[in-house]
């Protein structure tokens, strides 16, 4: 099988091209660090496999990603390299291209973002570039898929490689030939490439050569000199002369608007208000303008047409009362109660994907950095926090792009305080029932409370347990892009499909489970709800919550099941009260006071990360201790805050 390795800098559209060239499905994002694990895709024309290597800068590894790539070059078999370079930054990107050419396998160059280059005033003579480098280079625009079919053709017919040799000067060349001789037949790799990487102090090549048992001979030949500077300088000279030949620059073609937009959105005074305004628009659109009407349609369909149809089918096949109740009161009530929120969740993710792909997210990091610095974090932590408003799972995964361990850990630990969209159904239900005249304000106050508590916890952590590590901040601001519809929908779907998946698995199973223990009791089947096993379990723990104002078995049972997924709280309540979502609110008023309802909402906001979030916290921290802490401390915080709210709230509401 023909195998091609996809190599290139971070943030240059590599993952987007990967998606266009292969049949398989991948996560697409502008935020660096998205491509961490090795991914393999099938090429569209069935000509072989494409291996997506992490975005990286240099074959001599500094970061984990670079180690992955170097390890791949040394230890895995492949036929050719597809090197994606950013047409806007040839002078840096070509350093990697030279290293790939020296490796000796056929190289195909994808000259990406030629549209942006044009906008910046650069025109690149790609046929001349191909001729000089001795490779085929294809101009591409990853966002629109332009150039992809040419790339596929080139990959399919990549044959023998042409020798690429850059003259590094007499001294280095003689060393290269010495080292080449020492290696002899011991290695199957290109000996010139190994020699150059060795002279560059590439630690993985050094240990590879040591593994061949020629350490002492190499030491004798090299002495203690480092040639890093000279080699890089030679390459720079070569690249500069190449650029002079193939690139023409004209001020005329240059478009000024990106600079003007940047001057505005990162403005020292207007930057923050603009950001807050954009977030306000996003939330308004998600929850009021577009999301709510769509949710109503879904609700009407599930509660009306779909339920009626199911009931007809059930009676037609002569289903028993048990099965009928299970399907209608268990599954449809439970799963349906959650599916209603799918439109809002997808719209929120659509906006978040748009902000990511357009390049605005990294500007937010800059705008928010000074503020986050007060709490001991950096601006990059703000992005996982925003994504967490959609769902904590991708939010915590987005923390990967933060370089420092301490910053990453704090971000992971506090992200669950960001109110994810799964908690929204609970707020909508309670706020609608108890605070119908100022629903919006109540829901907004919960979001703010989550942020404030996250910042307080951050400050405490960075002053105590994690005080020894300082926070750093450096971010590259990618060029603005109008996100392409296909890419946008794909990344929205990637983020949101988790919810549909949850509805079909955890929530489906949870609904059946909850219904079963509510249907059966000590005295048999179809018992009164108050005599069910669910009532017994809830009743056992209920006294713990009495000081918070919701010490009923129903609320307690809903909280316990809410650990599976926060949406399940509403499903549970729908099953417990055996009513549809429409009339659930009316039932609530009988049990909660406004103060205890608000305390309950706050408790739901804070009490514990859901099962899926706990799993991702463990995966990202690889620490049982921090995972347990991430579950335990929110319980304490939630209990204390809900207690205060219930006591103080009695005087207000």
């Amino acid at each position: 099988m023909n195998k091609t390795a996809l190599l290139g800098y971070p943030n240059i559209g590599k993952t987007t091209l990967f998606n266009s060239l292969t049949n398989s499905y991948e996560y697409v994002g502008n935020w660096s660090g998205v491509t961490v694990e090795k991914k393999v895709g099938n090429l569209h024309n069935n000509s072989g496999k494409l291996i997506d290597l992490p975005g990286m800068y240099d074959l001599a590894p500094l970061s984990k990603d670079e180690e992955v790539v170097m390890n791949f070059f040394l230890n895995e078999k492949f036929n050719s390299v597809l090197n994606i370079i950013d047409a806007n930054h040839l002078s840096t990107n070509l350093h990697l291209t030279i290293q790939a050419l020296e490796f000796g396998k056929p190289v195909i160059v994808g000259l990406n973002m030629v549209d942006v280059a044009k906008r910046n005033g650069f025109t690149i003579n790609d046929s001349l570039l191909s001729k000089r480098l001795g490779v085929t280079s294809v101009p591409t625009i990853a966002r629109t898929g332009e150039g992809c079919s040419e790339l596929l053709n080139e990959i399919a017919c990549a044959g023998e490689s042409q020798a690429f040799e850059l003259d590094y000067g007499v001294e280095i060349e003689s060393l290269i030939s010495q080292i080449t001789k020492i290696i002899g037949v011991k290695s199957g790799h290109n000996k010139r490439w190994l020699s150059i990487q060795f002279l560059l102090n590439n630690n993985m090549v050094i240990s590879y050569l040591e593994g061949l048992g020629i350490k002492n001979e190499l030491k004798a030949a090299l002495g203690n000199k480092s040639f890093n500077g000279e080699i890089v300088k030679k390459r720079e000279e070569y690249i500069n002369s190449l650029i002079e030949e193939v690139v023409t620059f004209s001020e005329e073609g240059k478009v000024e608007w990106p600079a003007k937009v940047d001057a505005l959105v990162t403005h020292r005074i207007f930057g923050l208000p603009i950001f807050l305004f954009i977030m306000y628009l996003v939330f308004q659109a998600t929850f009021t303008w577009i999301g709510a009407p769509l949710s109503d349609i879904v609700d009407g369909f599930i509660g009306g047409t779909f339920t009626e149809l199911t009931e007809k089918v059930l009676s037609a096949i002569g289903a028993s009362t048990l099965l009928h109740d299970l399907v209608v009161n268990g599954i449809i009530a439970g799963v349906g109660g959650v599916l209603v929120f799918v439109p809002q969740i997808f719209i929120l993710f659509l906006f978040i994907s748009f902000l990511e792909d357009s390049g605005y997210m990294s500007r937010i990091a800059v705008v928010m950095d000074r503020f986050m610095d007060v709490f001991g974090l950096n601006g990059k932590s703000f992005i996982p926090m925003i994504i967490s408003f959609g769902c904590n799972v991708p939010g915590i995964m987005a923390a990967r792009s933060i370089e420092q361990k301490k910053d990453r850990l704090i971000t992971i630990l506090t992200a669950p305080f960001m109110s994810c969209s799964a908690r929204l159904p609970v707020y909508v239900l309670f706020a609608g029932a108890f605070f119908s005249s100022n629903q919006g304000t109540i829901v907004f106050s919960l979001y703010v409370l989550g942020i404030v508590l996250a910042l307080i916890v951050t400050k405490i952590l960075s002053l105590t347990i994690l005080k020894d590590e300082k926070s750093i901040f450096i971010v590259e601001l990618p060029q603005y892009n109008l996100p392409h519809a296909k890419t946008l929908f794909r990344s929205t779907w990637e983020k949101g499909k988790n919810f549909i998946h949850k509805a079909g698995t955890i929530i489906f199973a949870g609904s059946i489970g909850i219904w079963l223990i509510s249907y059966f009791g000590m005295s048999g089947a179809n018992v009164e709800m108050n005599d069910s096993f669910l009532a017994a379990i809830g009743g056992f723990f209920a006294p713990i919550f009495s000081p918070l104002g919701f010490g009923t078995w129903q609320a307690t049972a809903a909280l316990i099941t809410g650990f599976l997924a926060k949406e399940v709280v509403v499903s549970s309540m729908a099953i417990i009260y055996a009513v549809s979502d429409d009339t659930l609110g009316a039932e609530m008023i009988k049990i909660f006071t406004p103060a205890s309802a608000y305390a309950f909402m706050v408790f739901i906001l804070l009490y514990i990360p859901c099962l899926a979030t706990v799993a991702v916290i463990y995966r990202e921290t690889k620490s049982k201790m921090w995972t347990i802490i991430s579950m335990a401390y929110p319980l304490v915080v939630a209990y204390v805050i809900a207690f205060i709210i219930n006591k103080v709230g009695q005087f207000f509401f």
């Binding site: 930054h89 940047d262 020292r268 800059v366 950095d369 370089e403 901040f473 450096i474 590259e476």
Partner: protein, 75 residues
């Protein structure tokens, strides 16, 4: 003179980089920010927050406390 003391739209060349955090240093190098690079300050933020500068067509943002460790000569 250092990068942090430039005014917006000032152009300069990096003369020395010293005493900067190692991770910041590595990232700067791979973005093409090194001694001899031409830079142009494009934005500053309030209260000593990060600044944005352009280097080889890339927009890079670092904190002010790091920017003042990058010595520059104006052109």
């Amino acid at each position: 003179m250092n990068l942090g003391s430039l005014s917006i739209n000032d152009e300069a060349v990096i003369v020395s980089i010293s005493d900067i955090d190692e991770i910041v240093m590595r990232r700067l190098n791979s973005l093409g920010v090194k001694i001899g690079s031409a830079v142009c300050l494009s934005q500053k933020t309030l209260f000593g927050g990060p600044c944005i500068f352009e280097c080889q067509g890339k927009q890079v943002s670092i904190r002010n406390k790091d920017a003042i460790k990058i010595k520059v000569a104006q052109v």
